[in-house]
Symmetry: C2
Subunit: 211 residues, 2 copies
């Protein structure tokens, strides 16, 4: 961090402090505003809000920056091992949002607000310098699940599922509506090792779980 960015940080921090610590010295209005900020921050920390962003119609916005979240595992179900029609072709890059990963490290549970991203990637090659196998090609699709006990109060495990693939099969939609319960939950409920998440395929989560 250089001096300029330090100064920027300090300036931001001061503004936040005025809001949050305003309760100590300020008048009633400032105290109330300060308290709301504290509540919001605590709610965010507890995962009540999380990183998922919904619009007024309940559509989920395409998550941003998920390729810098915590990667948990990459199963590959290639088309050529599934009669040309894998359910999710082909590599699945699976990520969890960093705040929920931190909570998982501490509690071994998926907190309210957890966001899991599954990005699909084609097989680009079956031979490389390191041998025969499957090597990732190009991004082909994106699916997201969000655990939210308020929005998905009646869904198994309180998970909502969203697909972001455009019909042209080439681009991603900016928002997606929740899939009907029968589309995803039954398979997750039956086959996933923990709380509808396929932790049996995610060594990073298994290693992070408290013993």
């Amino acid at each position: 961090m250089n001096r300029q960015s330090l100064q920027r940080h300090l300036s931001t921090l001061s503004a936040v402090l005025v809001l949050v610590l305003g309760t100590a010295a300020g008048p009633a209005a400032a105290a109330e505003k300060g308290m709301m900020d504290i509540i919001k921050e605590v709610a965010k920390e507890k995962g009540v809000l999380g990183v998922a962003s919904f619009d007024a119609q309940g559509n989920l916005a395409l998550p941003e920056g998920y390729r810098q979240w915590v990667f948990v595992g990459a199963p590959v179900t290639p088309n050529d091992m599934n009669d040309g029609k894998a359910a999710f072709p082909e590599f699945h890059h699976v990520y969890i949002d960093p705040g929920s990963f931190k909570q998982y490290q501490e509690t071994g549970k998926f907190r309210d607000g957890t966001v899991i991203v599954k990005e699909l990637v084609s097989v680009g090659a079956k031979k490389g310098a390191s041998g025969n196998g499957y090597f990732p090609g190009e991004f082909t699709g994106l699916a997201v699940s969000v655990k939210n006990s308020v929005r998905f109060a009646n869904e198994p495990g309180n998970w909502g599922y969203f697909g972001f693939d455009a019909e042209n099969g080439k681009s991603l939609l900016p928002t997606a509506k929740a899939q009907p319960t029968e589309a995803c939950s039954p398979c997750h409920l039956k086959n996933a090792a923990q709380d509808l998440i396929f932790t049996q395929h995610y060594p990073v989560l298994r290693a992070a779980k408290p013993k």
Copy 2:
């Protein structure tokens, strides 16, 4: 961020500010100390130091927290597709340190100081709810490469290579010494798409590269 952690942040920040901004008001010694800190910070930002940590004998310390770095791709070269003896069995989880990823997003180049981690994972299953394929099992090994124009001035691309697998094949060593040039560089030099890095197998890097 709740009030307590805000206060912790402020306390840390104040300590840093005293060091870095000490140049403005302090005596000559403080000014010199402040300047050294600024130089170190700038050097770190520019990747001259990076996240790699070497001991006095030039051994690299096992990187920490790499499972929260930026994942770039996971080729799989299963033993059963390589006569039971893949060169790097079997999944390869490949990560880049976040600061160097940021630079790569801006410049399309691997900065001096870049650290790439390749964590090896066994195949745990060949069948899952999503179909036939390869599903990750357990962690089995770790290799690291570090780009450093001073330490590896005579190595191709200034990359040094390190293996952290203990002889028992079960644990990781706390430090590792650089591999001889012929162990890794020739294959990387001949086959890797960019600066001895196999970007052809890493869709996250290809997508991050400026057009």
